[in-house]
């Protein structure tokens, strides 16, 4: 009996890490990914992309989008950490999945990749709209570029675009420069101006426009120039990341392998930039890069170590926080010189850059302003590509106690003298007056 228990406990303790290796604040990289497809043919035609994900340790679960058994959560627990929608034409998801379920999935901190295409369904458009981008309303419109197209066999087809107008962020698209242009063929979208979180990662050239390539252009196209976004990302406030693109074929093996030559340019690349661009981008989307965490927020008076319940005005204090970046496998110290702390009450009274010790510990020391009230230590670190750090810690600041003022002030000595001499004088006067008849 005892032996049985030992085996049971041992097996639990061995299994536990495996049971728990899903997404968590401690290991932010996604593990389980649900891929919804229109057709299982995509699985093989886009196998390079999927394989690169599998090689990085992701557990891909391929399902048809209208499979009645698909479900994002069971018993209140999400079954997946990320969702890839490679199903541009799906009219209705199977199972319990709908737009609200997908939005809830994102709002509870999970990642999403959406690839639409020409004739994208209303469902996919709706999901994209919820994420802050609007696909061209004309269902058969494609992005056309008569100057920035990729040279190909079929002369006059300017819907295959070679674009190299990337976002300037090493965190999002990797530090290695993407030499070759990226091939794109599909529908364009624009960013909702109200949404401040959506970013254009790959935008079309100024000469591009969005229209139906088969019909004659009778009215001016609604989307033109670099307002057209080819690939966009969103980092939600809860740090869920979303990738939206209007081209499913971008991810295909064919585009990954084909060479590319941009029109008007003499350089011909053996291999398009798609593989590098999309793989690096997926690293960002799945939190293998640019994910920060702040721990051990501490503050105390300069000479003490314990955190007080409140400060007094003009106290000297020290504030420290540890910031780490997730490297994909472990937490590495995050080193930068632009993290600032605010001592904030309605507006920042003190704004100070934190100095770091190259091991992730950021600290600053300053003097509490001569103002009492309920202050906050605020660190609002929002840097392009990184998860946003928003730390605030409330701390009241009290005025002096009645016995914390100076007891005797040098400038007041004349008054002390006056008071005491009056008292002495009064005493002498009384004495003289009473006994000197």
């Amino acid at each position: 009996m005892g032996k049985f228990w030992v085996i049971f406990v041992a097996s639990i303790s061995i299994l536990l890490p495996f049971l728990c290796n899903s997404f968590s604040p401690e290991t932010p990289t996604d593990r389980r990914v649900l891929v919804l497809l229109d057709d299982f043919a995509v699985k093989s035609s886009h196998s390079s992309y999927f394989n690169s994900l599998k090689l990085r340790g992701f557990d891909l679960d391929f399902k048809l989008a209208d499979d009645p058994k698909i479900a994002l959560q069971r018993y209140g627990q999400y079954l997946y950490d990320a969702l890839i929608l490679f199903c541009p034409s799906v009219e209705r998801f199977g199972g319990s999945v709908d737009v609200a379920a997908i939005i809830n999935f994102v709002d509870s901190g999970h990642d999403l990749i959406i690839a639409a295409d020409v004739n994208a369904s209303d469902l996919i458009r709706e999901v994209a709209t919820e994420c802050g981008v609007d696909f061209d309303e004309d269902p058969s419109a494609m992005v056309i570029d008569h100057t920035g197209y990729a040279v190909s066999e079929t002369e006059g087809d300017h819907t295959l675009i070679a674009s190299d107008d990337f976002i300037k962020s090493d965190v999002i698209i990797g530090s290695k420069k993407i030499e070759a242009p990226v091939l794109f063929q599909g529908i364009g979208h624009s960013l909702n101006p109200v949404n401040s979180l959506v970013l254009k990662v790959l935008s079309a050239s100024p000469s591009a426009y969005s229209a139906n390539p088969l019909s004659k252009l009778s009215t001016p196209p609604s989307l033109t120039g670099s307002a057209i976004s080819l690939v966009s990302v969103v980092q939600a406030r809860n740090n869920a990341r979303i990738l939206i693109t209007g081209s499913l074929s971008m991810f295909s093996n064919r585009f990954f392998r084909s060479g590319v030559q941009k029109s008007g340019s003499s350089t011909k690349y053996e291999k398009s930039g798609n593989e590098q661009f999309l793989t690096e981008l997926s690293k960002w989307i799945f939190h293998e890069r640019g994910h920060l965490k702040a721990v051990n927020v501490k503050h105390h008076k300069v000479v003490e170590t314990d955190e007080p319940a409140l400060y007094r005005i003009n106290d000297e204090l020290e504030y420290s926080v540890e910031i780490y970046e997730w490297s994909g496998t472990s937490w590495e110290p995050y080193v930068t010189d632009d993290v600032q702390v605010q001592f904030y009450m309605m507006s920042p009274y003190i704004l100070k850059t934190l100095s770091n010790d190259k091991k992730g510990l950021y600290s600053a020391s300053f003097k509490v302003p001569d103002v009492y009230g309920v202050f906050q230590f605020k660190v609002e670190y929002q840097k392009l590509g990184y998860t946003s750090l928003s730390l605030s810690k409330q701390i009241p600041v009290r005025p002096y106690r009645h016995n914390e003022y100076e007891r005797f002030i040098p400038t007041a000595y004349p008054y002390y003298g006056a008071a005491f001499s009056t008292m002495a004088g009064f005493f002498i006067f009384s004495f003289v007056h009473l006994y000197n008849k």
């Binding site: 939600a236 406030r237 869920a240 009450m345 309605m346 009492y372 009230g373 309920v374």
Partner: protein
């Protein structure tokens, strides 16, 4: 035989007339003392032993703090649960007299091994001090008239509704002890003036100190007494007694008052206290002149000297005042003080003062309600005072007249006038009754004397009675006595009725008559505050109109943005602006103040009329006073305040309207009326389809009186 034996036994106990009178007087005073206490217990009987209204909740919370943390922590208490994020230095912004008194009573009771809860002490503090006031009224009446007037004054003040309104059990407010302190100070001062004793002057200084520690109304004392002294000087009643009494009160009282942190240097710097200082210097000049007059025998020389001195003194005083004002050393009068002198001032300049219902000018009906027959006895008493003018009666006349003026300016100051009105009325009652009884008794006495002494003096006595008496004099006196008895009994009935019906409501628990005449209790406020206490995070910030701030911190134990200590007009205006803006604009303000919950009071379901919609125009005015983007005409239609279909569009979509009427359009409130019928205002609401974007309903009490909304975090993907 047995008869004489018992009388022998009782002989040592037999009292002389004087002693009998004393016994009766003490007995009456004891009964009055008890009466004053128990008549104030109606509220406990009707509801329960609880703290009433708004401000008392703050006082209760601070008292709790004193008893738990001791005096010095209370003195230095920085309260970060109110006025988020500014906080409030409680110790330096309140009058600690009430809390310290209650804490001392609590300590004393515990020392005597009575394990009472601090709440019970707080609830019963005001009745206890009201009882003490009756004693002071007796002595005061005795000082200015005679002991009979004192007794009547004690009885009148014991049940006078004007005083009861602020001192029922549970009304744990500064006024509860302050009226006692006020009257006590006046009594001691008058005693000091009458006797010229330094000891009484010292006592009055301490009385003044207690008053300063208890209530901001001490300003009334420090202005009335100089005014009184000035009147005595002008009428040529200057005396050494007055000099001693006033100087002792002013100097020692000032030094003591400056020990209260909230007053501090204001006592020598602010405009309200300048009159006292001016009169103080004037007294010195007077004394000096008196001395010079005494030294100089030549009148002409003295006249010349007088002219020069007075001119110089006035000039120096004027220059000092001018320089002080210009340099900012002497602060100008506060808005509240101005609004006393000029009742229209607050309405035009400071909406936050005008918005408080107890700062409104008094209606005639409330004089009648609070004073009843005293209103008619008051002039009669003045007549008697003028007939027997003395330093003391001049004082009570001045107190009566000035306080009556202030009572007319502000409803709440009826309270200050009440003791004066009671005292002066008592003089009228006492003098009248005394005259009548003397008339009655003298006649019988004369008859008796006539019968006993026989015929020898009968002629003389009958002559005397013929001389002084008119026909039916005795009957007339009897009738008048009965009339007085009838009026006084009506007064007693009225007072009891007012106390039980009008002034015993805690206003935090509402009572109404149901359809079948049964009593319905709405306990929604406490339900809501308890919900806050139980269901929200400890550091949650609640935004509401400032009326409910004290209650939320005391009962809900949550941080509030603004509360009834209206010290920061801008902060209140910010809340007023949020309430009167559209939801998305309000959301910006709400986020900037870190608000987690918004609380509104709504009476549309129950017909409770003092809710936030009825207060809303004040929010607009106060908000608009600081932020001109809020304009009152935007919320009115042709100058009319409406909430139905014809209401202004901004009104129908502002945050306060939305929060009050959210989902109200689905509700049937009254049979035979359309859904969304507002019973407090008697109209069908104009916007029934209210959608909230940034807030969500968190809790609504069972009668919808309090509605709490949770502020949603910003949209995740936008």
């Amino acid at each position: 035989m047995s008869n004489s034996y018992t009388s022998d036994i009782l002989k040592p106990f037999k009292l002389k007339t004087k002693q009998q009178e004393l016994l009766i007087r003490v007995l009456i005073l004891c009964l009055v003392y008890i009466l004053a206490f128990i008549t104030r217990l109606f509220s406990v009987l009707r509801y329960e032993s609880m703290i009433h209204e708004f401000d008392p909740y703050f006082n209760y919370r601070t008292t709790l703090y004193v008893t738990q943390h001791g005096f010095y922590d209370f003195w230095n208490w920085f309260d970060y649960e109110s006025w988020y994020p500014l906080g409030r230095i409680v110790g330096g912004t309140l009058y600690p007299g009430l809390m310290v008194t209650a804490a001392l009573i609590y300590r004393l009771l515990h020392f005597l091994r009575f394990a009472v809860h601090i709440r019970e002490v707080c609830v019963l503090t005001a009745p206890f001090f009201a009882s003490n006031t009756t004693l002071v009224a007796y002595f005061f009446g005795k000082e200015i008239w005679d002991s009979g007037a004192g007794l009547v004054a004690a009885i009148l003040i014991a049940v006078c509704p004007g005083y009861i309104s602020r001192s029922v059990a549970g009304s744990y407010d500064n006024e509860g002890v302050a009226i006692f302190a006020l009257l006590f100070t006046f009594y001691l001062f008058v005693k000091a003036v009458n006797t010229g004793s330094l000891a009484w002057g010292l006592a009055s200084a301490f009385g003044y100190f207690y008053m300063v520690s208890a209530w901001g109304g001490y300003v009334f004392i420090i202005n009335l007494i100089p005014l009184y002294v000035l009147v005595l000087l002008i009428t040529g009643r200057y005396s050494m007694r007055l000099y001693v009494a006033y100087n002792c009160l002013y100097i020692l009282g000032m030094l003591l008052a400056m020990q209260i942190r909230f007053v501090g240097f204001q006592h020598v710097q602010s405009g309200e206290h300048m009159a006292a200082m001016g009169v103080f210097f004037l007294m010195q000049v007077f004394y000096f002149l008196d001395w010079v007059k005494h030294m100089l025998s030549d009148t002409n020389l003295f006249q010349e000297f007088l002219r020069i001195t007075v001119t110089c003194a006035v000039a120096v005083g004027g220059i000092a005042l001018g320089v002080g004002m210009a340099s900012g050393y002497i602060s100008p009068w506060t808005g509240r003080f101005y609004s006393l002198l000029d009742p229209t001032y607050a309405k035009d300049h400071i909406p936050i003062i005008a918005s408080v219902s107890e700062h409104q000018p008094t209606a005639w009906s409330s004089f009648m309600f609070d004073f009843h027959i005293l209103l008619f006895l008051f002039p009669a008493g003045l007549y008697f005072c003028f007939k027997r003018l003395s330093d003391a009666t001049i004082f009570i006349v001045m107190y009566g007249l000035t306080s009556m003026y202030f009572a007319g300016v502000m409803v709440r100051l009826i309270l200050v006038a009440t003791p004066a009105v009671c005292l002066i009325s008592a003089i009228a009652v006492s003098a009248t009754v005394k005259n009548l009884t003397v008339l009655l008794r003298s006649k019988t006495k004369v008859a008796q004397i006539g019968s006993t002494k026989g015929t020898s003096s009968a002629k003389a006595s009958s002559k005397a009675s013929l001389d002084q008496s008119q026909p039916f004099q005795k009957n007339g006196a009897m009738a008048l006595l009965f009339g007085a008895f009838y009026l006084l009994s009506r007064y007693a009935t009225h007072c009891t009725w007012v106390t039980s019906e009008a002034y015993s409501s805690p206003s935090i628990v509402l009572a109404a008559r149901g359809a079948h005449g049964n009593r319905v209790i709405f306990d929604d406020y406490r339900e809501a505050y308890f919900w806050l206490r139980q269901n929200t995070p400890l550091d949650a910030k609640v935004m509401s109109w400032w009326d409910y701030g004290y209650q939320i911190t005391a009962m809900g134990n949550r941080t509030v943005i603004v509360d009834n200590n209206t010290w920061n007009n801008t902060h209140i205006a910010t809340v007023g602006r949020a309430m009167s803006s559209y939801e998305d604009e309000a959301y910006e303000i709400i986020r900037s103040l870190d608000v987690d919950y918004v609380l509104v009071v709504f009476g549309g379901v129950t017909g409770y009329s003092s809710d936030d919609i009825n207060k809303f125009l004040w929010m607009v005015r106060i908000g608009g006073g600081v932020f001109p983007v809020i304009k009152e005409p935007d919320y009115l239609v042709n100058g009319e305040y409406r909430i139905d279909k014809g209401a202004a569009p901004k009104m129908l979509n502002c945050l306060m309207y939305k929060l009050s009427y959210y989902r109200f359009g689905e509700m049937m409130t009254e049979y035979g009326k359309p859904p969304g019928y507002d019973r407090a205002r008697g109209v069908e609401i104009g916007n029934k389809d209210i959608k909230l974007e940034h807030l969500e309903e968190a809790f609504t009490t069972s009668n919808w009186i309090v509605r709490i909304y949770k502020v949603k975090p910003p949209n995740n993907r936008w």
